[in-house]
C-alpha cells in the first residue's frame, strides 16, 4: 500500500448557514490524474482552497504524502510538495517571465533568506527558469514582462510557475479558462507532457480536454461527492448526466 499523494477525510466547511463542503473524502495516488467536475456552486474552488490552505476546513483532515497539513499555513503546502495555479491569472505582471519562474523556485529554496547577495540574471535559479521557459516554447519571451504577453501565454506561464517547484502534487484550477481553441490545444499538450510522477488534480469546465486528461473523475454537487470512478463509469453514470449535463 503506497502513501496517497493527497487524502481528504470527511472535510466540512460552511460559510454562515451555507454548507459548501459536506463530508468530502478523497484519495489520490502518487502520479494520478484526477479531474473534479461539477456545476457552478458545487464547491470545487472552495475544496481547492482548503487543500491549498487558503481556507481552513471546519472539520476533517487533509494530508499530503502522509503529512497532516490540515492546520498548517498556506506556505507549508509548498514545502510539502504542493503547487497550484489560479483560475484568475496571478503572475507578477511587472516582472519578466524569467523572474516569475525564478521567484517561484526561490520559494522552496534556502536561498530565499539571503539578504545581501544580489539576485540577478546570472543566478543558477534564473538559468533553470530559462530552461523551463524554453521547454514551453517561451524562451524568446523570457525577458518580457508577464503583463505584456498574451493571455494564452500567461496561462502557460501560470503552469510553468507551479511546475518549476517540482511539485509531487499539482492543483490546476481551470487552466483553460478563457482560452481560444488554438490556445487550449497548446495548454492541453503542455498538461499532457507534465512529468508522470506528479499527481495532478484539476478543476475544469472544458469537457473535451478534461475528459481526455482524466483517468479518475470525481463529480461534486452541492458540496458532496456524488460519483467517483474512471472515465467510462462516471460519464455513463445516470447521476452524472442528471447533475452535470442537466438531462
Amino acid at each position: 500500500m503506497t502513501t496517497p499523494a493527497l487524502e481528504l477525510r470527511d472535510l466540512q466547511k460552511s460559510f454562515g448557514g451555507v454548507a459548501v463542503t459536506q463530508g468530502v473524502s478523497l484519495t489520490i495516488q502518487p502520479g494520478e490524474r484526477r479531474l473534479i467536475i461539477g456545476p457552478n456552486g458545487a464547491g470545487k474552488t472552495t475544496l481547492f482552497n482548503q487543500i491549498a490552505g487558503e481556507i481552513m476546513p471546519d472539520s476533517g483532515t487533509i494530508s499530503v504524502f502522509g503529512q497532516d497539513l490540515t492546520h498548517q499555513p498556506v506556505q507549508a503546502r509548498a514545502h510539502a510538495g504542493v503547487s497550484r495555479t489560479y483560475q484568475v491569472i496571478t503572475l507578477f505582471a511587472k516582472d519578466t517571465l524569467a523572474h516569475n519562474v525564478a521567484l517561484a523556485m526561490l520559494g522552496v529554496n534556502r536561498q530565499r533568506f539571503q539578504i545581501f547577495k544580489a539576485f540577478r540574471s546570472d543566478d543558477a535559479l534564473y538559468e533553470r527558469a530559462l530552461q523551463i521557459l524554453s521547454s514551453l516554447g517561451l524562451s524568446d519571451k523570457a525577458h518580457l514582462q508577464a503583463g505584456e504577453i498574451s493571455y494564452g501565454e500567461q496561462r502557460r506561464v501560470e503552469i510553468a510557475v507551479a511546475m518549476s517547484q517540482s511539485p509531487r502534487l499539482l492543483l490546476l484550477d481551470e487552466p483553460l479558462a478563457g482560452l481560444s481553441q488554438d490556445e487550449r490545444a497548446m495548454v492541453r499538450d503542455l498538461i499532457a507532457g507534465l512529468p508522470r510522477e506528479t499527481a495532478i488534480v484539476m478543476i475544469e469546465h472544458d469537457m473535451d480536454v478534461a475528459l481526455a486528461f482524466a483517468e479518475q473523475i470525481t463529480v461534486l454537487h452541492q458540496g458532496r461527492v456524488i460519483v467517483e470512478g474512471d472515465r467510462e463509469t462516471v460519464v455513463n453514470h445516470p447521476r452524472t448526466r442528471e447533475i452535470y449535463l442537466g438531462t
Binding site: 507578477f92 520559494g107 522552496v108 530565499r112 533568506f113 545581501f116
Partner: protein
Amino acid sequence: MKRLPIAALLLLLFSIPLFAGEYFVNLGSQILIAAVFAASLNLLVGYGGLTSLGHATFMGLSAYISAWLAVKMGLGHAATAPAALLLTTLIGVAFGWIALRATGLGFLMLTLALSQIVWGLGYRWVSVTNGDNGLSGLTRPQPFGWSLDVSSHFFWFSLLVSCVCIFLMARFVKSPFGASLRGTKDQARRMAALGFNVHAIRWFSFIVASFFAAVAGLLYVYFHKYIHPSVMSVTVSAEALLCVIAGGAGTIAGPLVGAILVVVLKTYASAYIERWNMMLGLVFLFIVVFMPAGLVPGVAHWTRRLRGDKS
C-alpha cells in the same frame, strides 16, 4: 556601466565642503539625514507596498534614547549609539508585530496610532523627555578624535554613514529576500502559495526599516545637538512619505532626490514665503499630475519620450 556616474557623483558630493560655504554644507548634511530616513521608509512603501504614517517614531526614539542616555545617565557616545540602535530596533520588532495585524489602510492607521502614542509620551512624560523643552546640552561624537563640530567634518561623516546605509539598503532590495518582499507587494496570495512566509517577510522588512530610521535619528540628534518631541510628529512622517513618493517609490535614487527636493524647498521657500507648505503642496501636485510614479521614473520616462522613443 552604472559604476562610473556613481563614483563621479560621490566625488562631487565629497568635494562640496571644499568650495561651498558653511550654510550650504549644513544644508547638505540635513539632506543626507533626510535621505537615509526616506530611504528606510521606502523599504516599506516602495518595495513592500506598506504605507506607514508613523515612521518618524523610529527616528525620534533613537534620537531620544541616545540623548536621554547621554544627558541623564552620563554615558558616552560609544555606549549611547549602539544602545539607541538596538532599543529602537527592538521597538520596531514590537510595533511591526502590532501594525502588521493589518495591511493597506489598516496598517497605515496602526502605524499612525502607535506613532501618536510615542509622540504623546514625548510631550507628556516630562521627567524623562523634558516635555516641550526637549533635551539639550548634547554633544557630537568625536570618532578617532576627529571633531564633528566642524560643519565640513560633520558633512563627511554623514556622507559616509548615509552611503553605507544606502548601499546596504540597495543590496537588501536586490537580494533574493528583497525580491520576495516585492513579490508580497504585488501578489501576496501567490507568494504564500509559493512557499514564502508573507507575514515574516513583511515583519523582518519593517524591522530593517526601523533600524535604518534609527541610524537617521542618530545623525539627526548629532546634527542638532537638541531633541524636541516634534521630531516624532505626524508631519515628519508625512514629509518622509512625500520624499519617497515625490522622488519615486520603489527606486533607490527616488527617496534621495525626494529628500533634496523637500529639504531645499523647506529651507528656501520658508525664507521667502510664509506659507511654504502651500509651495510644497503645489510641487507635489505637479509631480502627481505629470509624473505619477515620482521624479526619478518620471524624468526617465519624459527623456525617453523627448528622444522619440514611444515605448
